[in-house]
């Protein structure tokens, strides 16, 4: 060691390793990590950070996902190996168990409310856009609900595919178009043909004669009624006139 102090100075000029800043930012939730997961829906890229899952997409490649994330979310992003339990959580979530936490920071309070409400729709069921609007206390904002769902950064896991139009059309879908929406709903056990036929005939609710309760057609509580006991109903007024009350689980109308 010819000149110790010079060497010590050189030691002070050492650079941080590559990716260090991203790892630091990821640790405080300011940068996100992502990985590709094999799921029942095919390969899904999922991004996460300290606060939870922040984005998901069925991109064709890592580069495509990174580009979309950059435009849509705008935080730094790095490929990483996922936390041990994330793969399991993803499978569970797609099987209808709600175990995931989400990071929705980049969204407006209204968008967050829409997505939180949407997450409460159980697997195998669907709700109209108007239902989401009414449930979050903004009954007139049906179109805004539509655009909030169209910009859902975490499709599949926040099930925007479970929100459909009342006229029986399936409605648009950011996670891969109407066909993808149909495919996912079918996979989840929704009887789409029946639903669409009834909707086209103008029926919005189904009542069960024995219980005198009316529900959305996919509601879990009405699904096990005998076919001969089911009546199809056009609207709330007809239902109430016929002595039915709204279901307290799927809440097709404000429960009195």
């Amino acid at each position: 060691m010819i000149d110790l102090t010079t060497d010590l100075k050189r030691l002070g000029a050492v650079k941080a390793p590559p990716g260090f800043a991203e790892r630091v930012l990821a640790q405080v939730g300011m940068a996100d990590s992502y990985a590709r997961f094999e799921t029942v829906l095919g390969d899904v890229y999922v991004a996460w950070n300290r606060l939870g899952v922040s984005a998901a997409a069925r991109s064709a490649s890592a580069a495509e996902f990174e580009e979309w994330f950059g435009k849509d979310v705008g935080r730094p992003l790095q490929a990483a190996s996922p936390p041990a339990d994330l793969g399991k959580k993803i499978q569970d979530e797609l099987n209808g168990k709600r175990r995931m936490r989400f990071d929705l920071r980049g969204l407006t309070p209204f968008e967050q409310a829409v997505l939180r409400k949407t997450r409460q729709i159980p697997r195998g069921e669907v709700r109209p856009y108007g239902w989401v609007a009414r449930e979050i206390g903004r009954p007139a904002a049906v179109r805004a609900v539509g655009s909030a769902l169209a910009h859902n950064p975490i499709p599949y896991f926040i099930p925007c595919h479970r929100v459909v139009r009342t006229d029986g059309q399936i409605g648009n879908y950011g996670g891969g178009g109407p066909e993808a929406k149909k495919a996912i709903l079918t996979l989840e056990g929704v009887r789409l043909n029946r639903l669409q036929e009834m909707a086209k005939a103008g029926y919005r609710y189904q009542g069960v004669r024995t219980t005198k309760i009316f529900c959305y057609p996919t509601c879990y509580t009405g699904r096990h009624a005998l076919e001969k006991n089911i009546v199809w109903l056009h609207d709330e007024a007809t239902a109430r006139a016929a002595g039915f009350r709204p279901c307290k689980v799927c809440r097709p109308a404000v429960v009195a």
Binding site: T5, L8, K9, L11, G12, A13, K15, F20, A21, V24
Partner: protein, 171 residues
């Protein structure tokens, strides 16, 4: 909160090399250095969240971050001697550079290991003064020690590094 995030992002990018180099000199290997440096920034972020705007404005970022780094190392190694196993340092990242670069890197890692083997009080003083290039007064402030103590510790630390053990004080 948005403001703190912006500030923190800039701080990370501006000081990451410095904080990492200090951590490397303090711990002696790149693996621990990365942990210490990451922890330093993590604590800095949490602290920023609790600071008033005035306090943030008056912050001397460099000294502040180094003070945190020193504390992180102190808390980590309390009772634990730095590991002597990784004499040749570094495995966290084998970027295959030109041979000269690899040689330089090896020498630096070796030096870092030797620095890290110094008793804590000499190590802190030597790292901040010689590696980090802070003045005696700045080092004294960062460590909360009198200037005379710092000078003496730097001097003794360098002596130990030179392999001159004659007047080593028992530690």
């Amino acid at each position: 909160m948005e403001g703190v995030d912006r500030l923190f992002e800039r701080m990370v990018n501006e000081h990451k090399d410095r904080v990492f180099a200090t951590s490397l000199a303090m711990t002696g290997n790149r693996h621990d250095a990365e942990e210490v440096a990451q922890d330093t920034f993590f604590r800095a972020y949490r602290a920023l969240g609790t600071y008033s705007p005035e306090r943030i404005r008056d912050l001397k970022e460099r000294a502040w971050l180094h003070r945190i780094a020193v504390n992180v190392v102190r808390n980590r190694v309390r009772g634990v001697k730095p590991s002597l196993v990784e004499l040749n340092g570094s495995e966290s990242d084998h970027s295959p550079g030109p041979e000269a670069q690899a040689m330089e890197r090896m020498q630096l890692d070796e030096l870092a290991t030797r620095v890290a083997e110094l008793p804590v009080r000499y190590r802190e003083a030597v790292v901040l003064h010689h590696v980090r290039d802070l003045s005696y007064a700045e080092v004294a402030e960062a460590l909360g020690q009198p200037v005379g103590t710092v000078k003496a510790n730097v001097h003794r630390g360098l002596k130990l590094l030179r392999g001159d053990n004659d007047d080593r004080l028992d530690d």
